[in-house]
């Protein structure tokens, strides 16, 4: 291969161009479906809908802290006014009685359609007697003083009934007309975004809008005009007021920024370090540039393959794929160091291609086997990562093997690193000489201790809660819980969902479900339940209630009979008779009638409409603050017994955790399959069980040691740790194979250089992953703390345990 082959370069260019085209035209999705099974159950789909679009995902909790409560109240009013004018927010609540009079008028006008007490019995002589008796009793109560003007219009107390119906939930107390926390330290607002919680861009804009409204309101509250951007607002009372926000949108935006920031910072730092190491080694910027070609090509090919294979690329694939194929950086390191320096006089790379490429190839195939285990995963995220790494590694290896030698100028030289190889080799030899037989025992001892440690923690070894991967800090979660407690807002994690083809159908379903759930409220299994039908009953229910209203003559007769002896003057009740007569003629209520009242927002929050599917959501509350958890199984059993169609209870946290646990379980099973696949591959390639065992022993030992170390440090293992272990095997197999090849050949040409290339590749890997451990993002930390020590141990153990021994079998490579 003395002549250059233009077809290699041109076919690479064509391949890159094609990949670029595919990547540019690919569809990218950035939502939770990567974590949703490819064939989700109905419940799983409901759950993801909730996490993605549900009302809980759109709720932002806002707190104002600092300053005095009066100033905070002014800021709160100003913010609410501004945000209510912003179409990005469907609900803005701060406790002010803004729409109170409209709500009151609406409820009063439609009380006979809305009150759940209205039925045929309510307006018989007996029914009227009971209702009016109760009203008169109510007049004697402290609040009764305030109710008496209602009696002539509403002697049966329907208005109070509705208010009770709608105000079952605890709400925060108010001060200066707006909500404050129980301790008075915070002024509170709640906003619901129009955009789904999964739309992080929209959430980020909404958070900025809230900040903007806050700044403007603070300036207004201190009577100061907002200066042009960047100008400081003059010191005033209101400048002491601080804005705090919480909720899923806040978390999502913060997490994304945090990951972005961490990834950016870490990749800059690690790039600088790795480049510095490689420059120090190569002493050639050209080599450095060429060294990046395999990785870049691999990444491109990986994304293109995923786009072609799956039709769409998940964000998580882009985010993590590159880390998984970090091994491909090593290929060029091996190539440059092992082939170029001190070559035997032949054209660059020939010697390497002949003697060492087979080892790199086998190492690459080993990794491919490892990642292939992810391919059959039921979760698109994992399967895509598998395909991405496989394609990426193959492409990178191909570029290293075929393209790099073509691109090297003649007489290309890099710095001499054989001194490093010799020194490391010397240390290794002396350790091996002194501890010949003891090394094996030491390895067994390490393995035994590691397994013992793992066994001691085997119950709690794996964390099956998704929240463990959440980048949200515990302090932020605590603050969120505080605000929710302040607001009396349930953390909507348990809800009953009624599905149907139309609004009327789901409202009827919600009414039936609520009736069943009320029995559970009475039994104190659940604290309370919300229902969209509380705001807008189904047409059927409204019709039944309207139908229960008697005509004026019947009503008068019944009143005469019922009120007798109650001491109430019948003449006082003429407005009542007139109102009932009017209600008999009134039209039934539709969602449009709720517009302009605060009921619309409450109703909208509990109705989900997606194309032709409607869902009514009935969030459940815990019995009290001390027992917020709900026995979902009992709720499910009761709903089951009632045989309600299309009605089910969803425990969001349990469902997500179950999903993640399934994810983890499957990943573990697949990883084991991958390991078996690697064993088979090596058996086929090396044709020596002994050699395969010797080769895999240091890798297993490295994985065990790292796992034991993590567990001992109090870590619970997550799926990212598992992926990290897969990476240890993928990267480490290259080290082991080189030592194995060296051992099998008995004498190696460039053993010092091989060793040096392994050490340098290892340094790069440890730098790259080690830096991840310093980030604040749990997924990155998990990956870093697993791979960095694991890769180092894999090299150490391989170097010490795979030694030149008496000849084994014929060289299989």
């Amino acid at each position: 291969m003395n002549t250059r082959s233009p077809w290699i370069i041109s076919s690479w260019l064509v391949g890159v161009a094609a990949a670029l085209w595919v990547v540019a035209h690919a569809h990218y999705i950035n939502d939770l479906s990567a974590f949703l099974p490819a064939k989700p159950t109905h419940l799983q789909k409901l759950m993801v809908d909730q996490l993605r679009d549900g009302p809980a995902s759109r709720l932002l909790l806002i707190a104002l802290e600092g300053g005095d409560s009066e100033t905070r109240a002014r800021v709160s009013l100003g913010m609410a006014r501004r945000l209510r004018n912003d179409a990005a927010f469907s609900i803005v609540e701060n406790g002010e009685a803004l729409t109170a009079s409209r709500d009151r008028d609406f409820l009063f006008a439609h009380r006979y359609l809305l009150s759940d007490a209205v039925d045929a019995g309510r307006f018989t002589a007996t029914g009227l007697k009971h209702a009016i008796e109760e009203t008169i009793e109510g007049l004697a109560s402290p609040a009764g003083l305030l109710l008496k003007s209602l009696v002539p219009h509403d002697p049966t107390g329907e208005m109070l009934r509705i208010i009770d119906q709608l105000s079952r939930n605890r709400s925060p107390r108010t001060q200066h007309g707006v909500w404050i926390s129980a301790d008075g330290a915070r002024t509170l607002l709640v906003a619901q975004t129009a955009a789904p919680g999964s739309d992080t861009d929209a959430q980020e804009r909404d958070l900025q809008a809230i900040s903007g409204a806050f700044d403007a309101s603070v300036a207004e509250a201190s009577g100061v005009q907002v200066r042009p951007a960047g100008a400081q607002i003059p010191a005033a009372d209101s400048s002491a007021v601080q804005l705090k926000m919480s909720g899923p949108g806040v978390f999502a935006v913060a997490a994304r920024a945090k990951i972005k920031r961490a990834a950016m910072r870490l990749s800059i730092v690690s790039s600088i370090l790795v480049v510095a190491v490689l420059l120090a080694v190569y002493r050639s910027p050209l080599a450095l540039g060429l060294g990046l070609l395999p990785v870049a090509t691999g990444a491109l090919a990986g994304v293109a393959a995923v786009a072609l294979g799956f039709g769409a690329v998940h964000g998580v694939t882009l985010g993590f794929g590159i880390t998984l194929m970090g091994e491909s950086v090593d290929y060029s390191i091996y190539f440059f160091i092992q082939s170029l320096h001190g070559g035997t006089g032949g054209p660059p790379g020939d010697e390497w291609r002949r003697r060492l490429w087979p080892t790199v190839r086998l190492g690459m195939l080993t990794s491919v086997c490892g990642f292939a285990s992810l391919l059959p995963s039921g979760f698109p995220g994992l399967a895509q990562l598998g395909l991405y790494s496989i394609t990426g590694l193959i492409a990178a290896a191909m570029v290293t093997r075929f393209l790099l030698p073509e691109l090297l100028p003649l007489g290309f030289r890099i710095g001499d690193v054989s001194a490093l190889g010799l020194r490391v080799g010397g240390v290794r030899d002396s350790i091996c000489r002194h501890g010949r037989s003891r090394l094996g025992y030491a390895a067994c001892a390490v393995a035994a201790v590691a397994m013992l440690l793992l066994y001691r923690h085997h119950d709690t070894l794996w964390n099956r809660e998704l929240s463990r991967l959440s980048p949200v800090s515990p302090q932020d979660l605590r603050y969120d819980a505080t605000l929710r407690a302040d607001l009396g807002a349930a953390n909507v994690s348990d809800l009953v969902i009624v599905e149907g083809a139309g609004l009327e159908e789901v409202l009827r379903g919600a009414e039936r479900a609520e009736a069943v759930l009320r029995t559970l409220v009475d039994e104190r299994v659940i604290g309370d339940v919300d229902s969209p039908a509380d705001y807008l009953p189904s047409l059927a229910t409204q019709e039944a209630r309207r139908g229960a209203l008697p005509d004026a003559r019947t009503l008068r007769d019944d009143l005469k009979a019922g009120v007798a002896g109650l001491g109430l003057d019948l003449g006082q009740l003429t407005p009542f008779v007139e109102d009932v007569a009017a209600a008999r003629q009134a039209a039934l209520l539709t969602p449009d009638d709720l517009r302009g009242t605060s009921l619309a927002a409450g109703f909208d929050a509990l109705i989900l409409h997606q194309s032709d599917r409607w869902s009514a959501l009935l969030p459940l509350r815990g019995v009290d603050g001390a027992t917020p958890d709900i026995e979902v199984a009992r709720v499910a059993a009761r709903l089951e017994a009632a045989r309600l169609p299309n009605t089910m209870v969803l425990d969001l946290k349990a469902q997500t955790d179950a999903l993640y646990a399934g994810y983890l379980q499957e990943a573990m099973r697949l990883s084991l399959c991958g390991f078996l696949l690697i064993v088979l591959l090596l058996l086929a390639a090396l044709r020596s069980p002994l050699r395969v065992a010797r080769l895999l022993a240091p890798l297993c030992l490295a994985v065990l040691t790292v796992a034991a170390g993590l567990v001992q440090a109090g870590q619970q293992l997550t799926i990212l740790h598992l992926v990290g272990m897969l990476l240890i095997v993928a990267v480490g197999s290259n080290y082991a194979l080189f030592f194995d090849a060296e051992a099998a050949m008995q004498r190696s040409l460039n053993s010092a250089l091989t060793l040096a290339s392994l050490v340098i590749a290892n340094i790069c890997t440890v730098i790259g992953f080690g830096l991840l451990s310093f980030s604040q993002v749990p997924v990155l930390v998990a990956l870093g703390t697993t791979v960095a020590p694991g890769a180092f141990l894999a090299l150490l153990f391989s170097g010490l345990l795979i030694r030149r021994d008496p000849p084994v079998t014929a060289d299989a490579l």
């Binding site: 609900i91 609540e93 406790g95 002010e96 009685a97 729409t99 109170a100 009079s101 709500d103 009151r104 409820l107 109760e134 008169i136 009793e137 109510g138 007049l139 004697a140 109560s141 402290p142 609040a143 009764g144 003083l145 305030l146 109710l147 008496k148 003007s149 209602l150 009696v151 002539p152 208005m159 208010i163 009770d164 709608l166 105000s167 079952r168 939930n169 605890r170 709400s171 925060p172 107390r173 108010t174 001060q175 200066h176 007309g177 909500w179 709640v190 607001l487 009396g488 919300d530 509380d534 001491g567 109430l568 003057d569 006082q572 605060s598 009921l599 927002a601 409450g602 929050a605």
Partner: protein, 199 residues
């Protein structure tokens, strides 16, 4: 969001409370005995009495009766616990009013609903012996002796006068015996207090 609706409920109640006609003024009498009574009332840190209340409403031919307990803790906590005909508790603690009926409890801020002030402050400030607080809201007219006194309170504020025409409190030394609230629309309530027996 049901949170807003609760606000509607509370303001509904307050709104209704504000209904009424204008009140007439009552001349005030400056008295030293008032200070003495106030002083002895202020000595009491805690009090628990039972009450019987009759409300005479124009729409009803006979009064509505209720009874329960009135509990006072200095300086500003007042609890009216109605037992019959329907259990209901009203607690005023500082600026916060809580109404509890069954498992439901509604909390509101006194400052936001000034209409409620005369009903609450007349009794609470009197129990506290806080003449200054009373004079902030009412014109005071004191008659009788320390053994048997009558305090007539007339709202100063025109807005308050729309709801309450006059409050008349009868007492003996540091005990309240009778509180009569005459509302501007002609309805009135009469609460008779009795030292708690048994406890």
């Amino acid at each position: 969001m049901k949170l807003r609706v609760l606000g509607a409920c509370v303001s509904l109640l307050a709104h209704i409370a504000a209904h009424g006609a204008a009140a007439s003024g009552v001349a005030a009498g400056g008295v030293d005995a008032l200070d003495e009574v106030m002083h002895s009332l202020a000595q009491r840190r805690h009090g628990q009495v039972s009450f019987v209340e009759q409300q005479f409403l124009s729409m009803l031919k006979r009064p509505v009766e209720s009874y329960g307990e009135l509990i006072y803790d200095a300086p500003n906590r007042l609890e009216k616990r109605t037992i019959e005909p329907r259990p209901e508790t009203l607690v005023v603690d500082g600026e916060v009013v809580t109404v509890q009926r069954g498992r439901r409890s509604h909390t509101l801020e006194l400052k936001a609903y000034p209409q409620l002030l005369p009903f609450i402050e007349s009794i609470r400030a009197t129990l506290a012996g806080d003449r200054a607080a009373l004079e902030k809201l009412f014109r005071l007219e004191f008659t009788g002796s320390e053994m048997r006194w009558t305090l007539i309170l007339t709202p100063l504020d025109a807005q308050l006068a729309k709801a309450v025409a006059e409050i008349r409190i009868d007492g003996s030394r540091d005990e309240l015996l009778k509180v009569e609230i005459r509302q501007s629309d002609g309805d009135r309530s009469l609460m008779t207090l009795r030292a708690h027996s048994g406890r």
